[in-house]
Structure formats: structure tokens, C-alpha cells
């Protein structure tokens, strides 16, 4: 089987997948023997002969001649036919089960005697269509046209040439107000302020427009706008998705990194390198390290299925997400389609998919702690001291709380026990002093039957403040097993001195497993402190040892039991923290408060000294071996695969690193360099096209993340290549490209229809006018906040939720029923949890970030109207808008109307509009006018 598989792969790599015999709609199959024979022969040639031909004779037979295939065909008896069986069960062909109608047909053909229409049959060899986007970029000559007088730059020459060829002409220039609004929304996602409008309308200098463009590109709002586009492309979301969908509170550093990168006009190649290998190229640079958030911005299954297959599948899904997103975002390819078989449309062999997977084989979901400052040796020492002190005080505080908790529990249960029940936060086992070199904690049972979790194992002698088991004192941790696949659950976490679930260990045995500490020398110990989630912000009560044994040993072989759960109360009822506080004696309470205050201070100092930030930007471990998976099935591993890039792009070598077993980060860096190599024909084209799409409403290639045969061909191939070549020649500077596009005449034209244009090119593919576009969800929400005067321009940092969040095992999100000022920041800063969308953003096609969204839909629905007219956010902001008008225009209704129009539309009302507005105010309120303006098409379109 193994050898036939390899041949199958090899052959399909060369011959490529068949276009489609899928065209066998049942109706097209003639129910007679001749047609059956012809159709059967076609299926055999396409799907069986590539391996089972006279040369390869895979499995020892071939289908070229009927006589040679009798044994496996069993003509006349489909029940005995091996072919009929393997195709019915889907065992063959290896690239996937045949469609049902083909199976039915083959069986019928076999049953009726398996007549060959012609002999010998020959394998069908189909070469995949050469892909235009794999061809080298060539800078074309700039065409000349009759409209060249109007051209502002080279872009127009290409656009005009296509127009002229189709007997179309460019539209007149757009009105100045329309143009200002267009370019301002486009570059910053915000409407122009009325001051900006006045300034521009009064600036008659020839470069007035260019000055506006420069101002906009230099504003921080630019990065907030274009960063959001990039976040769409890379499926950035701030919750895990899948079953539990808990939030990722620390995903935002990547979002800030993206915004910063756009604002800094980072060369695109650098942007790519940082996102794939920021841990290497930006090591220790706080502004760059979060870039690797790119790798883990997608969905991650936090539950999984605890079987071998389930664990492998979970890992395979994570890697698939990274490979597919890398392929789509940078290369505009659907590489994920080559996971189970060679790509059906594009020259991407299955092998390539797994070579790319191997590049990322060391990447895992999770947070890394970012150090925001470089430390001196003295800093380091102080930081360490503080960290020990924090642990000591946390223990003290925990002890006070345990005492009080026990008090509550006893009061509640009214039973007397000698020792408190085990709890997830902190447990103390005291025993007569023993001298030992080894300490072992063995779990015998857990409260939920699951694999036990131990967050920290501490050991103390006489000195109750000196943890002898902590790794920094030289102690080593080992364990009976480890639940695979969780960077936050690791054996070294047993004694890393850091409390909390995120630094804990879980065994791989249900309800069992031991953790062991080896001290650097013999120690006298008399107390063991252990916890399951003892951190500052405890969340977990599961996986708790309820029966256990603590043993010590001199040699690691002979053990003496020093403590067990014996004598502990059985109840583990969860007791509310407020009850615990209430049950403290005044003295305890004072002490507890003092310690808390000290802890707060220490933490402030620790943060000052070594400002750190946890960030969901992936963890990097040694690369695991990657295998080609037959049909993408994790249980059918084929040969081991070494890292590599796409093999069919001939302008650049697919060998990434000289040494195939290169260290993990080298692989990613090498791939980043391969992607950003100027000889890579895809990267620049894809990026240029994305910019074009966001500026002109549709891409030159209208399928921005699919430059394959199944995607669309470019509408202006020469222009695309010209811009790509220009982009590469100028260091991959994105702002330069923006400027070219928005300074072009094509961009500055009117969006009005002309009869000629509508008749010849209603879809405006050739750009005889500029499209009129609806504000995207975020731009709409931001525009409302700008107009009401409430937009809070604070940038960066943790996002604000537009939902109420609670966790009952899985996360539950509910929309807000009121919107506090905290939510009045720009929409790019809302916490974009998956599978939940704010009603306003959701109604206006904001993607929910489970899938990559390289292009947004722009639907028009009645529910949008209801949300805009009646939604809580909108009515609230209309009220603020009215308040603002009153403040700025006073109590005179005509002045109010004037100001309202200026703020919403950037212009004064016409007399007719004014009269209508005055009547509206008179019959109701200023609020009514404000609601109308925020709902008007003039407000919604740009």
C-alpha cells in the first residue's frame, strides 16, 4: 500500500487532478451498455490508470486491458468484484471516494460484463492550466491614449487605454466636497470635520488635494483604518472560537502592532518577516515581538477530544489554519485545498502543503510574556526579590483566607473535622519534620475524574517563607506524565514559583498521576503547600486532587508517606469570597488588607521595573515531525516531510534552508524571506491588488485572496504588473502606493452614471466612474460618534467589549443594552470576539472573524434600517448629536438646522431642506432631525 500510495502521489503531482468527471449528472448518463462502457472507461482512465497501468502495475494489476483486470473486476458479478467493493467503501481511489453516480455506474458496468469500448485504455494526463500569477512580474510599457491630457499619473494611462479601447471615456472630476469625503473616509475611516471641509473648499492652490492626502496619510487614523482591513484578511479575533469560545483578553498587542506598522509605513517585506518570525527579527523589541500574533489569530479548539486521533486532529487544525492563512494573506492562494489531495485547480501538490506545515511545526497557540524594557543586572535581581516576596505574601494572604474559608465551611456544614477540605486555591499539609532529597505528590482521585492539575508544589522547613521546592533554588520537577498539547500545562510549571492555572501541570492519566521534586541537597521539610489554581485571579475548580499521598525519599526509590487527605473534610463546596471576608476577625481583616496593599505596591514596582504584558502571540517549541497525511486523515501518516515552500513557482527555489532539520525559528524566517523575495511573483501583486480593492471598491483581481485558476483574472493585467513592479522597485512602501492611487484621475472622477457607461459596462469593471460605496460597519459606527461629538480618540491597549460576557463552562456573549463612554472609542478597538457581533456592526456586514474576510459584503436589509432608526446606540447618539448642536448653534432652529447639516453632511442645507427640517423640529424635536440625518444615504455613502 505504501508504495502504491507514493506512486499515486507522484503521478498526481505530475498529471494533476482531473478537471471533472463530476459532470456526470445522472440525466446525462445514458442507460445503455455502450454509454456505460464509454463512461466507465473514462472513469478508469482518469482515476485508476494513473497507478494501475501496465508500467506501474500498482497492487500487481492494471486496467489497460480487460483480460489483465478480470481478477479484480469479476465481470458479471458486482457482489464478488474487488473493484466494486473498494470503490463502494471509498478505499480507492486514494484521493477520495468517487461520487455516488460514478460508483453506481461502475457497478452496473461490472454487473453487465465490464465490456471495454476500446483497448488498451491509457491514463489521462491533464496538465494543470499554467497559472498567470506564477509568471514573473514584468513591468509593461505605459500605453498612450487620447485622454492622456487628463491623466494625473501612470495609473490613468492604463485605465484610459482600456476605456478608449471600449469606446468609453472617463467621467468628469468629482465635486470637491465629494472628493474630500471620499479620500478622507478611504484613508482614515472617518468623515472630514466641518473645519477640514471649509479649509479644503477655500484652498485654491493647485496642490490643495495633495496636501490633504499627505495630511491623511500622516494621521494616526490612517493606521486604524488600514490596520482593520489587514485584520479582516488575517481572521484576527479576540476569542478562541469553537466549543468554549472564551475571550482572549491579551490578543490586542497584535492589533496594535498592525496599526503601528501601517502608520510607520513599514516596508512590506519587513511586515511579512515580523509576522512570521517576529520572535527572531524583533527579539527583545517590544514594538515588534507582538507581530507573531498573526500566526495564532485564528480559531483554536480548547476542548479537543482526548484520544490519539482527537489530539492529532486538534493540532492538525491549528497548523492548517496557519498554513492556509499564510497562503491566502500573502500569496493569494488557496493552499488549504491541497491538504487532502493535490490542489484541484492550481499547481500546488499535496506535498507542498505539508512542507509548508513543517515550517510552522513548532508554533503553538498561547500567550508569551513580553518584556517592555531591557533590564540591567541590578533590575533583574530586584525583580527576582520582588517576585519571591510576592509569593510569600500571597501565601500569607492565602492562609488567612483559608482559615476564614474553613470557618465559613464549618459553620455551614456544622460538622467538625480535623482539617479543612481540599480546595483549588491553596492546601497545606503539615507533618513532623523529615529529612529527604525527594518529595512526591501522588494524586489518587480527582473531584471530577479528570486528569489532575497541579499548579504549584511548595515545600517548607522551619522557615515558613522559604520555599525549598522552587526551581530557582535548584530543585527539579518531574512527573508521571503530561497531558500533551498545552503550553500552559508543563512539568516545569510544577515548581516555577508562579501561581495560577496558566502555569500549571496536568497529568495524562484520568484521576491519577504524580509530580515529584528533587531538591539539590538533603532538606528538612515539615510542610507542603499545593494548589490547583492558586493565582491572583483564580478561575478553575476542576481537576482537583481529592485523594492523594505525599511521600518523601532519600534516593528516589524508597518512599515514606508523610501525609494524605486523611482527616480532611469531604465537602468541597465553593464558598463565596464575600463570605470569606465577612468571617474574618477584625485582626485578620486588618492583616489581610495590609498584605493586599503591600502586594499591590510590590506589583506596581515589579511592573515599573520590568513592565511586562502577556500577549496572545503564540509560543514556540521544538518543531514536531510532520508527515504527509493520506487524504488529510491524521491517522494515516505517510512519509515524513521537511520544510519547504511552493515547488511550482519557478522563479524562486522552494528549498528554504540548507539544513532541512533547521531550528524552528529559522524555518519561519526562511519562509518569510521566500515570500518577500522580489522574485516571488505573487506577493507584490496580491498586496497591490488589496490596496486597489479598498480604494476602488473592487480589486483588479476581484478575488483578492485567490490568484489561482479558480479566481478571477485581472481586469487590467498590465496595470497590476506595473504597480507590482513599481512597488518592489521602491522598497515595498505602502503609503507611496496609496498616494499614487488616490492622486490618479481615475480616483478623482465623479461617481455619476453616464448612459454610455451604463450601456457598455454597468459593473464599472473598466472604471469609467468611481463607485459610490456604503460605509463599512466600523466606519459607520465611527462616523456616528464623530458626528455626535463623542468619538474618543484614545489609541491602543486593551479593547472594549460590546457584549456582556459570562462563562458557564462555555462562554456566553450577550449584546449590550446600553453603551458607556468606554465604548465610544474607534470600532477597531472593540474586542472582536468570534461568533458574536454587535447588532449594528453585524447588520452592516462586519465579519465575525471566524473566517478570513478579504472582501466584505455590502448587503442592504430592512434590519439595518430598524437598527439605525431604533437601536439603542443610534438613539443614544442622536441625542448627543442634538445636544452638541444646541451647544454650538444655540436655540435658534434655523441655526440648528444649518449646524446639523454641516456636521452630518459637511454642507449647508438647501432652502427646501431647511424648511422641511424646521417643520420636523417644530412637530417633534431636534432629536428627530438628528435621527434622520444619521440615517440618510448622504451620511451612509461615500
Amino acid at each position: 500500500m505504501a508504495s502504491s500510495l507514493r506512486i499515486a502521489c507522484l503521478l498526481t503531482a505530475i498529471t494533476a487532478a482531473l478537471p471533472t468527471l463530476a459532470a456526470f449528472a445522472p440525466a446525462t448518463i445514458l442507460q445503455d451498455k455502450v454509454a456505460d462502457a464509454r463512461n466507465a472507461a473514462e472513469i478508469l482512465s482518469a482515476k485508476c490508470l494513473p497507478c494501475h497501468n501496465a508500467k506501474t502495475k500498482s497492487g500487481g494489476f492494471d486496467f489497460e486491458r480487460r483480460a489483465d483486470a478480470l481478477a479484480v473486476l469479476s465481470p458479471g458479478n458486482a457482489n464478488d468484484s474487488r473493484v466494486a467493493h473498494v470503490i463502494s467503501e471509498g478505499k480507492m481511489p486514494p484521493n477520495g471516494k468517487l461520487p455516488a453516480n460514478e460508483i453506481t455506474l461502475l457497478k452496473r458496468w461490472i454487473a453487465s460484463g465490464a465490456v471495454y469500448p476500446v483497448e488498451p485504455l491509457t491514463p489521462v494526463k491533464l496538465v494543470i492550466k499554467p497559472l498567470w500569477s506564477f509568471q514573473p512580474i514584468q513591468k509593461p510599457a505605459v500605453p498612450k491614449t487620447v485622454f492622456d491630457k487628463q491623466a494625473k499619473n501612470v495609473i490613468d494611462r492604463f485605465v484610459f487605454e482600456r476605456l478608449a479601447r471600449n469606446n468609453l471615456r472617463p467621467s468628469p472630476p468629482a465635486a470637491r466636497l465629494a472628493l474630500l469625503r471620499r479620500v478622507t473616509v478611504d484613508l482614515t475611516g472617518l468623515p472630514p470635520t466641518s473645519a477640514e471641509v471649509t479649509a479644503f473648499l477655500n484652498d485654491s492652490s493647485p496642490d490643495a488635494y495633495e496636501k490633504v492626502v499627505d495630511r491623511l496619510l500622516a494621521s494616526t487614523a490612517y493606521g486604524e483604518r488600514w490596520g482593520r482591513h489587514w485584520l479582516d484578511i488575517v481572521r484576527f479575533g479576540e476569542s478562541h472560537g469553537y466549543e468554549q469560545n472564551h475571550v482572549r483578553p491579551n490578543a490586542w498587542p497584535y492589533r496594535d502592532y498592525v496599526i503601528r506598522s501601517f502608520n510607520e509605513d513599514k516596508p512590506y517585506g519587513r511586515f511579512i518577516e515580523e509576522q512570521l518570525a517576529g520572535d527572531v527579527v524583533g527579539k527583545g523589541v517590544p514594538s515588534v515581538e507582538p507581530a507573531t500574533g498573526f500566526l495564532v489569530a485564528g480559531i483554536h479548539d480548547t476542548v479537543g477530544i482526548q484520544t490519539e486521533e482527537g489530539t492529532r486532529q486538534q493540532r492538525s487544525n491549528d497548523l492548517d489554519d496557519i498554513v492556509s492563512t499564510t497562503g491566502a494573506a500573502f500569496l493569494g492562494l488557496t493552499i488549504g485545498c491541497a491538504k487532502c489531495h493535490d490542489h484541484k485547480f492550481d499547481p500546488i501538490p499535496q506535498q507542498d502543503y505539508y512542507r509548508l506545515t513543517a515550517v510552522f511545526a513548532g508554533v503553538r497557540h498561547g500567550e508569551r510574556m513580553l518584556s517592555m524594557r531591557r533590564l540591567t543586572e541590578a533590575d533583574r535581581q530586584e525583580a527576582q526579590k520582588i517576585s519571591l516576596e510576592i509569593t510569600r505574601l500571597t501565601n500569607q494572604k492565602g492562609e488567612i483566607e483559608s482559615t476564614s474559608r474553613e470557618r465559613v465551611r464549618q459553620r455551614k456544614s456544622k460538622e467538625s473535622v480535623t482539617r479543612p477540605a481540599v480546595n483549588a486555591r491553596r492546601n497545606v499539609d503539615d507533618f513532623p519534620p523529615v529529612t529527604a532529597r525527594f518529595l512526591r505528590f501522588t494524586t489518587l482521585m480527582t473531584n471530577d475524574g479528570a486528569e489532575p492539575n497541579l499548579d504549584e508544589l511548595q515545600a517548607y522547613g522551619v522557615d515558613k517563607d522559604r520555599n525549598l521546592a522552587v526551581a530557582s533554588s535548584g530543585a527539579k520537577a518531574t512527573a508521571s506524565s503530561l497531558l500533551p498539547g498545552y503550553p500552559i500545562h508543563q512539568i516545569p510549571h510544577i515548581n516555577d514559583g508562579i501561581l495560577g492555572n496558566d502555569h500549571s501541570w496536568i497529568s495524562n492519566e484520568r484521576g491519577a498521576g504524580w509530580a515529584q521534586i528533587e531538591f539539590p541537597r538533603m532538606n528538612t521539610i515539615q510542610r507542603v503547600v499545593w494548589s490547583r489554581d492558586g493565582g491572583d485571579n483564580p478561575r478553575f475548580d476542576d481537576r482537583l486532587a481529592t485523594a492523594y499521598r505525599i511521600e518523601v525519599s532519600d534516593d528516589g526509590t524508597h518512599w515514606r508517606v508523610v501525609s494524605t487527605q486523611e482527616g480532611r473534610a469531604a465537602s468541597t463546596d465553593i464558598i463565596a469570597y464575600t463570605d470569606i471576608l465577612a468571617a474574618m476577625t477584625p485582626e485578620e481583616k486588618g492583616q489581610q488588607e495590609r498584605i493586599s496593599a503591600d502586594l499591590d505596591q510590590l506589583k506596581v514596582r515589579a511592573q515599573e521595573l520590568n513592565p511586562t504584558q502577556n500577549a496572545y502571540i503564540g509560543q514556540f517549541t521544538e518543531a514536531e515531525p510532520i508527515y504527509l497525511l493520506r487524504r488529510g486523515d491524521v491517522m494515516q501518516r505517510g512519509e515524513a516531510v521537511t520544510p519547504g515552500a511552493l515547488s511550482q513557482i519557478k522563479t524562486i527555489s522552494a528549498d528554504l534552508v540548507p539544513n532541512p532539520s533547521a531550528a524552528e525559528p529559522e524555518r519561519r524566517l526562511a519562509l518569510a524571506r521566500w515570500i518577500s523575495d522580489p522574485h516571488n511573483p505573487l506577493t507584490a501583486r496580491v498586496l497591490v491588488n488589496r490596496l486597489w480593492q479598498y480604494h476602488f471598491g473592487r480589486g483588479l483581481v476581484s478575488t483578492p485572496s485567490d490568484f489561482g485558476n479558480n479566481g478571477d483574472r485581472p481586469s487590467h493585467p498590465e496595470l497590476l504588473d506595473y504597480l507590482a513592479a513599481d512597488f518592489l522597485a521602491n522598497g515595498g512602501r505602502i503609503k507611496r502606493l496609496h498616494k499614487m492611487m488616490v492622486l490618479s484621475y481615475a480616483y478623482r472622477q465623479s461617481s455619476d452614471a453616464t448612459p454610455q457607461g451604463m450601456a457598455k459596462d454597468a459593473g464599472n469593471v473598466l472604471l469609467w466612474r468611481m463607485p459610490l460605496r456604503r460605509l463599512e460597519a466600523e466606519a459607520l459606527r465611527d462616523a456616528v460618534l464623530v458626528t455626535s461629538g463623542n468619538l474618543d480618540r484614545r489609541r491602543g491597549g486593551p479593547g472594549y467589549p460590546l457584549f456582556q460576557y459570562r462563562v458557564v463552562n462555555v462562554a456566553i456573549y450577550e449584546p449590550l443594552d446600553k453603551y458607556d463612554p468606554e465604548t465610544w472609542r474607534r470600532s477597531v478597538y472593540q474586542q472582536s470576539a468570534r461568533a458574536i457581533r454587535d447588532p449594528l456592526l453585524g447588520a452592516f456586514d462586519c465579519p465575525e472573524s471566524s473566517q478570513r474576510a478579504p472582501r466584505r459584503e455590502s448587503a442592504t436589509t430592512a434590519l439595518q434600517s430598524l437598527t439605525l432608526l431604533n437601536g439603542v446606540f443610534m438613539t443614544q447618539q442622536s441625542g448627543f448629536f442634538a445636544g452638541r448642536i444646541q451647544k454650538e448653534a444655540g436655540e435658534s432652529p434655523p441655526e440648528q438646522v444649518k449646524r446639523a447639516f454641516q456636521l452630518a453632511f459637511g454642507r449647508n442645507p438647501t432652502p427646501q431642506e431647511r424648511d422641511g427640517a424646521l417643520a420636523l423640529i417644530k412637530g417633534g424635536s431636534l432629536n428627530d432631525l438628528c435621527r434622520v440625518l444619521l440615517n440618510a444615504n448622504e451620511f451612509l455613502y461615500y
Binding site: 455516488a100 479601447r165 471600449n166 472560537g241 466549543e243 469560545n245 479548539d301 482526548q306 473592487r698 476581484s702 485572496s705 489561482g708 479558480n710 479566481g711 478571477d712 483574472r713 481586469s715 461617481s751 455619476d752 452614471a753 453616464t754 459593473g763 464599472n764 469593471v765 463607485p771 459610490l772 458557564v808 462555555v810 456566553i812 458574536i836 457581533r837 447588532p839 453585524g842 452592516f844 456586514d845 471566524s850 478570513r852 459584503e857 455590502s858 448587503a859 436589509t861 434590519l863 439595518q864 430598524l866 432608526l869 431604533n870 437601536g871 439603542v872 431642506e913 422641511g916 427640517a917 417643520a919 412637530g923 417633534g924 428627530d928 432631525l929 435621527r931 434622520v932 448622504e938 455613502y941
Partner: protein, 495 residues
């Protein structure tokens, strides 16, 4: 190339006449007036060969299916939490006989929450019903009366044994979020017959949203027009009410002034059908404000009907679900294309309390849930039938997977079982009194005519007159389908 080129890339050709026709009949003369003298343009993203041909500006206009069929609309009942196949629908005498014995071949197999104990018989009795003589559990006596209208599929298999992903698979075909729900696909394919109500409605349970929440009725990557709208008789459509304190007269003046502004804007910006579509959308919203309160107002039903469904029940949960069943009927009666109807909510701290996830206390849990489900659902089927609506309404009963025939270690409940479970179909085009497929003698793994959720979806679409392979939408390089690259229509089930 010197000859004139047609724009490539599958640009949408606008059927202006159809659009205007629709406007004239449904969308009002003002919107129509705005269109005069204009040609509609392509404002939607380029349409791909293989996508459904949508009408410009009216994505919900009714469209013909691929084949002529009876079913015009769907009610999909969903019991979240995984309702047990072997305690409701599939009788397993062998399970009863070998109660308390270890299940052969199950040693060492652990399911979702861990170890499995011995075989656990269903705590309820089974009797034959109807002309078909189908055995049904005594837990659902009212539904048992409907067996001759129902086609059971006893051999379903799910890809996940975890609630969230498995529910997504049942609703969207995929275990990950981000894909369109079956209801979204159906409305994308067929539009809707009542422009005054949402085309796709998700009626959630009074106890709360199901696992995954709105992802169950998401439009995924399809345009937002195909997203399900969630409401029930206790919670109306969001933002349906005008802001507090505005009088109807004031509201009318707001709308009129808005209309004037938008008409002027259209005149100044000719040739943008989007602008007209939005004018129409506001009128549609106004009509929805009129129609939706009417449809959710169950008090208009006769006392007899309310009683028939159990809406008068002393159990507030049963009464509430009964009202939701009546709402489902009222919606399809008015031409809503697709209705999801939930009986149960998401998981709570106690398994099986708020939904069908009976891990530890099967008997207590199901004796709480079944009376809620049984009478109202049966009444819905019977009521649809007596009104002639079952003729062209497809009713689906679904859940995300099944439960183990064994007890969960140390308990009287059942763990998750994705290897064999039951769903059923009734109504338009469905062969009643029919059972397809079977699990093994204990009800563990699907054994006879094994079916997938893809098959279930392919069949449901086929009953709606849609070929699941032809109903596609281009997204990120792939013509996506509800059935991915799988699915066979279960033809024996079709009448």
C-alpha cells in the same frame, strides 16, 4: 485586441423588469419612482458562475428552486444537548434484555466525560403506534400519534462529540464557526414569500440561547440579508419599537423627511441602485414594524388552539414552548421561508437541567424535558396538517448527536455518542410512517444504511427542490456548499 470587449468576471446582469415588477407589487410606488430613468448597476460584489442569480437591490425576492417540489418552507426543531435516540425514537429490546451487563466490545472506550459503565436500559416503556406500527417511547405519547407522518433516520453520525461544534455541523454542515446555516442557504436559494417579515427566523427557547448562540442561524460568508432573525413570543425582534417617547405622527414625519432627503440624494447621484434599495429597505422595515407584532401576538388564537398546543399549561416552560410552536406555524402560514425552533437552551452548571444533556440523571432530566417537547410539537404537526400546511411545509426534528447505551460511570445518565443517533422529517414530500437505517442491537453505532449530516442536509435541500451540489456560493477560492464535498440524498425517504 481591437474589438469591443464584454466586461469579464461574471458581472451581474440586472433584471430590471423583474426588479421593477417586484417594486410595483411589493415595495411601493415611491421607491419605484426613484428608479425611473435609472439603470441599476452592479453594486454587489461580482457574482460568480455557480452563485445564485440575485436580483439587484432585492436579495430576498422569491426565486424558483432547481426542481419543482411540494415543500415551500421549513420548520426545523432543534433539541440542543443531544437528545437520546434510545429513550425516544429507536427501540432496542436487546438493551432491555441485557441491562446491567457490560457492553460487548466497549471495554476501554471512554467517551466525552470519561468511563462508561454497563448497559443501561431505557427507563421507559415502548409501544407500537399508528398504521406503521412504529415503536415509540412512552415519554412522547402525543408525538407517537404522529408516527404515520414521520420518516425517522436512525443511522445518523456526527463528526464531533462536543456540543458546540456538533450543533454547528447540524446547522451549517461544518464544525467551525463562520459557515452559513441551512436556513441561510435556503433563503439565499429561494428568497422569501413575505417581504414584510424576516425570511429566516430563529425562535429560541425561553430558557436562553442554544450553545454557540447566533452562530446557529448565521449567514456566515453569505450577505447579511440571509442571516436568521432571532425572536420568540417572550422577546420581540430587536429594535422593532420606535424610540420611547416618539408619537406615531412624529415617527411618520421622520420617515417622510428621510425619504425626501434620500430621493434628492438619488437624483443628485444617478445610476446607483443601492440608493434605491435602501429607500425600499426603510419601507420594508416600516411594514415589518406593523407585521411582526401581529405575528407574535398569540392571543389572537382561539382558546381551543392554545389548549391544543398546551399554551395553557401550568408549566411555564411548556406553555412558553407551546407559544413558540404556535408562532412557528403563524410564521410559515405567512410565507416565512425557514424557521428554527429550539426546545432547550445552552448548557448550565448542571448537566441536563436546561437542555437534553442527561449525563447523570437521565430519568429526572427527560421527565422534565419530554412533557415540554411532546404535546406542543405534536400539536404543531397536527395543526399544520389540518390546515393543509403540512402539504408544503417540511418539518425537521434535529439534535446534535446521540447518547450512549451504557450508563456514565457512577451515574444513572448517558454520555455523548456521535456514532449513532436519530433525526426525523415530516411533511411535504416525506414518506410518512417510515424508518431509515438503524444502529446496532444496543443503539450505539449506526450499522444499517449509515448516514451523515451531509446526507441529511442533501435530503432536506432536495425536498426543497434544491440540488445540494448546485447550490453554491463563491468564498475564498471555493464554490462553497452546505454539504462541503459530501452528501447523498436519502432517496428512500422521499415520497
Amino acid at each position: 485586441m481591437s474589438h469591443q470587449e464584454e466586461p469579464k468576471n461574471g458581472e451581474r446582469r440586472v433584471n430590471r423588469r423583474a426588479f421593477l415588477g417586484e417594486m410595483g407589487s411589493g415595495l411601493g410606488s415611491i421607491a419605484l419612482a426613484c428608479l425611473l430613468g435609472e439603470e441599476a448597476t452592479a453594486a454587489l460584489p461580482p457574482q460568480r458562475k455557480g452563485d445564485v442569480r440575485l436580483e439587484e437591490g432585492n436579495p430576498l425576492a422569491p426565486r424558483a428552486p432547481h426542481f419543482p417540489v411540494k415543500a415551500k418552507r421549513v420548520i426545523q426543531i432543534f433539541c440542543p444537548g443531544a437528545a437520546s435516540q434510545i429513550d425516544l425514537w429507536e427501540y432496542k429490546p436487546e438493551l432491555e434484555k441485557r441491562h446491567g451487563q457490560p457492553m460487548p466490545g466497549l471495554t476501554g472506550v471512554s467517551s466525552f466525560q470519561g468511563g462508561n459503565g454497563n448497559l443501561l436500559r431505557s427507563p421507559w416503556g415502548w409501544k407500537q403506534h399508528g398504521k406503521s406500527g412504529k415503536y415509540i417511547s412512552e415519554l412522547v405519547p402525543h408525538l407517537a400519534e404522529c408516527v404515520d407522518d414521520i420518516a425517522f433516520i436512525h443511522s445518523l453520525t456526527a463528526k464531533s462529540n462536543t456540543h458546540g461544534p456538533a450543533m454547528l455541523q447540524m446547522n451549517t454542515g461544518f464544525v467551525l464557526e463562520g459557515f452559513p446555516s441551512m436556513g441561510a442557504w435556503a433563503t439565499y436559494a429561494l428568497g422569501t414569500d413575505n417581504q414584510n417579515l424576516p425570511a429566516f427566523v430563529a425562535i429560541h427557547d425561553r430558557r436562553g440561547l442554544p450553545p454557540n448562540g447566533p452562530a446557529n442561524w448565521s449567514a456566515g460568508f453569505l450577505p447579511a440579508a440571509y442571516q436568521g432573525t432571532s425572536f420568540n413570543t417572550d422577546r420581540p425582534i430587536a429594535d422593532l419599537q420606535s424610540p420611547a417617547g416618539t408619537t406615531p405622527q412624529e415617527e411618520k414625519r421622520v420617515r417622510d423627511y428621510l425619504l425626501n432627503l434620500n430621493r434628492d440624494f438619488s437624483q443628485r447621484n444617478p445610476g446607483h441602485s443601492d440608493l434605491s434599495a435602501r429607500i425600499a429597505a426603510y419601507q420594508l422595515a416600516a411594514r415589518m414594524q406593523m407585521s411582526a407584532p401581529e405575528v407574535t401576538d398569540i392571543s389572537r388564537e382561539t382558546a381551543q388552539t392554545l389548549q391544543f398546543y398546551g399554551a395553557d399549561s401550568a408549566d411555564p416552560l411548556k406553555a412558553s414552548y407551546a407559544r413558540n410552536c404556535i408562532l412557528a406555524r403563524r410564521l410559515v402560514e405567512r410565507g416565512v421561508r425557514f424557521v428554527q425552533l429550539y426546545c432547550g437552551a445552552c448548557a448550565s452548571g448542571v448537566d441536563g437541567l436546561l437542555n437534553w444533556d442527561a449525563h447523570k440523571t437521565l430519568k429526572a432530566d427527560y421527565e422534565r424535558h419530554c412533557p415540554i417537547l411532546d404535546q406542543p410539537t405534536a400539536a404543531l404537526l397536527k395543526d399544520l396538517k389540518q390546515r393543509g400546511l403540512l402539504e408544503d411545509t417540511l418539518v425537521l426534528w434535529t439534535t446534535e448527536f446521540g447518547r450512549m447505551p451504557t450508563s456514565q460511570v457512577g451515574s444513572e445518565g448517558r454520555d455523548h455518542n456521535p456514532y449513532g443517533f436519530t433525526a426525523w422529517m415530516a411533511g411535504a414530500g416525506v414518506k410518512g410512517g417510515f424508518s431509515y437505517g438503524a444502529t446496532d442491537e444496543f443503539g450505539y453505532k449506526a450499522e444499517k444504511d449509515v448516514a451523515t449530516i451531509y446526507d441529511f442536509h442533501a435530503t432536506a435541500l432536495r425536498l426543497l427542490g434544491l440540488d445540494h451540489k448546485r447550490l453554491t456560493y463563491y468564498h475564498n477560492g471555493i464554490q462553497r456548499r452546505l454539504t462541503d464535498v459530501h452528501g447523498e440524498v436519502i432517496t428512500p425517504l422521499i415520497a
